[in-house]
Symmetry: C2
Subunit: 149 residues, 2 copies
């Protein structure tokens, strides 16, 4: 069923603000809003549209997986680990996270970082990197310093 | 290949600002930016992330199609025809356009209206409504007054 979901200050009418993850993955100060693609009346969508907000000083889990991400920053600024690089992120920057690429978002610029993240409806679960994965894939000192796990 | 595409004032580095449509569909003051999912190095994405900007006074084409849309307003305000209703749109409002639902965006609030629109990579072409479709599906006088074609 078609609908318009009104937003006021990054809070969407009728959409619950949820914990980022329910397992014990390492992260800090992150919440999620499932905007479209998870409700029963949106089954025609093959993808899900979510909003994540990372509080100042917080970070998402360090992970990789088969499914890709399309990301658009819509609040604040920060940085991210993306493979063996660190990138600064600003308003409306767009990120493509290709399959099996290690990533972690950081609200490390003195403000919150909020972004839309689109994923396939049916997708694999994230993998957390172990020491072997990191030693094989990460050589950049800037990345080594940045990652939290 | 993973990447960060930097944005400055709704213009993305390396992404061409294109005409909204190349056919003779009726629309006014609309441009598109194909952000993710159309390049050769983004073949893993099953969906496309586009940004559309409608200039003050402009409107998108009046159309419907089988594939659904997920939309997030990221600039300005306006309104839209969605089925047999007219909705006001403000910053960060989210829209689900379900299959076969007539829709048209209008930048009719004294400013531009810009939005992210996500669609399946493989999808059907839009259909423009004829008189028969409209007389069958549209009865709301507010919608009748709003639509441009």
């Amino acid at each position: 069923m078609s609908k318009v979901i009104k937003c006021e200050n990054y809070s969407w009418k009728g959409i619950e603000r949820k914990d980022y993850k329910t397992d014990t993955t390492c992260y800090q100060g992150v919440h999620r809003f499932s905007l479209l693609g998870e409700q029963n009346d949106e089954q025609e969508l093959n993808f899900q549209t979510r909003y994540f907000e990372v509080k100042k000083g917080g970070f998402t889990s360090l992970e990789y997986h088969r499914h890709p991400h399309s990301v658009v920053i819509i609040k604040g600024s920060g940085s991210m680990v993306l493979g063996d690089e660190v990138y600064k992120l600003g308003l409306h920057d767009v990120v493509f996270i290709s399959p099996e690429t290690l990533h972690q978002f950081h609200a490390d610029n003195g403000e919150s970082l909020g972004f839309i993240c689109i994923v396939d409806r049916y997708r694999d679960k994230p993998t957390l990197p172990d020491r072997e994965y990191l030693s094989k894939n990460i050589s950049n000192p800037e990345v080594k310093e940045k990652i939290k796990q």
